[in-house]
């Protein structure tokens, strides 16, 4: 991270109307994402979660602000770093942790895993582990909405690294020239896996600086400020629903943990993490609410309620049986099985 790309540390709320209820909802969402991800991390350390996993610790404001701006029926397309976006749409913590732990109570009963969280009933149309693959897919869902006259908007979250893959550019051009109701959200956390995005990208803002090439507005926002995310997303949704086409929003943010479970993030310059922790989205938001007169007790009660929820979910997952063998061969084809021959 450089000082230049680090957003200014403003504790004042951005301009724009957000109701007190909405603010509490956004606060609660961020606390939920923080605690659930922290719990996922702890469960790794206890070896109760196997495989890999990519946390959004530090990036909660993007998921919370975006989800708070969505309507039921809007569709989310996420990456492997998708726990937060999945939870933010209302998917129960137990289902997510259960999936990470390979339990039968998991969201996909263990058939997808951490990188593929999907819950159609919550509008979470999948988490995609091939960088960039889901941008065109989100376009397709938006094309269906346009074709059928449906009012839902598709939202596609991806990292800074995804902006250098061909599918990003194909999708932006396709969406822009067909005016599709899709919102592209680039979570610029300054790193791909281990390499800083700035070292391998021709422009300073990997998302926003490309927008102009597709006739879109250049939008860079403080992705650690959930209110700004919420307000910017709301505008993009209004534009999409009015038939005015896609938006690309680059959110500046930072992940507090490594890229994935195995990554101690040694490649980051000393002090960088601490600087960003001063801009921790959850504490910023809490301070702002307190400054606006929300009693600390109200916020503490939210924290405690979320803690209970995450604890209960953890307990339920630990008690749940591991995923059952009889689903190994199911749902390869539409007939429910995996047979490819008579």
């Amino acid at each position: 991270m450089t000082e230049k790309t680090r957003p200014s540390a403003g504790e004042t709320a951005p301009a724009g109307e957000i109701s007190p209820e909405k603010r509490l909802e956004i606060y609660r969402l961020q606390v939920l994402l923080r605690q659930a991800e922290q719990r996922a991390y702890d469960l790794f350390l206890q070896n109760k979660i196997k495989g890999t996993s990519h946390l959004s610790l530090g990036q909660e404001a993007v998921a919370a602000g975006a989800a708070a701006a969505m309507r039921p029926g809007d569709l989310s397309f996420c990456t492997y770093r998708g726990h937060a976006h999945t939870l933010a749409r209302g998917v129960p913590v137990e289902k997510v942790l259960g999936e990470l732990m390979g339990r039968d109570n998991g969201l996909m009963r263990g058939k997808g895993g951490s990188m593929h969280l999907t819950s159609v009933e919550h509008g979470v149309m999948g988490s995609y582990a091939i960088v960039g693959a889901h941008l065109p897919i989100a376009c397709g869902a938006a094309w269906r909405a346009q074709y059928k006259g449906d009012s839902d908007v598709s939202v596609c979250f991806f990292g800074d690294g995804a902006t250098n893959i061909g599918a990003f550019h194909e999708a932006l051009n396709f969406a822009a020239c067909r005016k599709l109701p899709v919102v592209f959200v680039c979570e610029n956390n300054l790193y791909m896996e281990y390499t800083p995005i700035a070292e391998v990208t021709a422009v300073k803002h990997p998302g926003a600086d490309r927008a102009g090439a597709y006739g879109l507005e250049r939008i860079v926002i403080d992705g650690n400020d959930a209110d700004i995310v919420y307000l910017t997303m709301s505008k993009a949704f209004a534009r999409a629903r009015a038939g005015e086409g896609p938006s690309l929003i680059e959110c500046l943010t930072y992940r507090h943990s490594g890229h994935s479970r195995a990554d101690p993030a040694k490649y980051r310059p000393p002090g960088e993490l601490d600087k960003w922790k001063e801009r921790d989205p959850v504490s910023i938001y809490r301070k702002r609410l307190e400054a606006q007169g929300v009693p600390g007790a109200t916020l503490n009660a939210i924290d405690a309620e979320v803690r209970r929820l995450v604890d209960d979910a953890t307990q339920a997952c630990e008690a749940a049986p591991s995923t059952s063998e009889d689903i190994l061969f199911t749902d390869v084809y539409a007939d429910g099985g995996c047979s490819w021959r008579n």
Binding site: K111, G126, G140, A171, N173, F174, V332, N342
Partner: protein
Amino acid sequence: MAQLTYREAVARGIAQEMARDENVVLLGEDVAKAGGVFKATVGLFEQFGPKRVLDTPISEQAILGAAMGAAMTGLKPIAEIMFADFLGVCYDYIANEFPKTRYMTNGQVSCPLVVRCGNGGGARFGAQHSQSVENWCMQFPGLKVVSPSSPVDVIGLLAAAVRDPDPVVFLEHKSLYAVKGEVPDGEILDTLGTAKILRPGGDATILALGMMVPRSLQAAEALQERHGISCEVIDVRSLVPLDTQCILGSVARTGRVFTVEENPRQLGWGSELVSIIADEAFYDLDGPAVRITTPNIPLPAADALEDLAIPSVDRIVEMIRRSLTA
């Protein structure tokens, strides 16, 4: 009854399905106003309009990705990837996205779509516009792969592919586009996973696909006339799902089997079929299963060379004759 070319059959099949179901849409490069580079979609834009027949940018990932997103949420897209070779630039969708979605999501999401491609050689287009890519597609659990050899099969199998709830790769053979065949009037609907015995015979079974079907029929004719060898010719038509029963039944009757494959030898579609036959019909065989294929080379452009590479009628005749009289 009408005489239709294979390419006209493609357009008729698509039109039949678009007229039946307004969720069926067509997208691809040059498919709308120009009627397709192979002229296989002529008239569809005029009949169904720009909302349902889309000219896309040269963005194979966007084409297949958009088809997937639309299919996941309720449309029935038919996506054209002009030359099957170009699946290489959007292979992620073929390999990682379409076929795995239903399984990974524990049945929540499906991708009922069709990817049509101009497949195969014989047109002197060289190594990057001539390949037979069946084996690029048939290795993925969750994907279906079909390749018709006649106009009537084009319509019936295309209709079946569009109505199928799983993703289907539909390989049209470029060198067959001009071939004519009888097509009945009215709706035509075939069944995926069914092979067709096009010529009965008692001495050997020939398994063929696409352009190798007419060549195998000619070879069978010649083998009968010149050598008194009676071959049963099966158009496999559908690699996934596979009509194993039809194939094994024929092998049980004839005791010998030959695959005729346009793909280069390594891991061509016939290798999987031969492996099934070795497993399940070994004691029916009176001699080795023989694969007649393009050798292990990229396809050359020059006509003389391409003709040497792809199995010809003479090569098929010769290999079967030698094998049976050895």
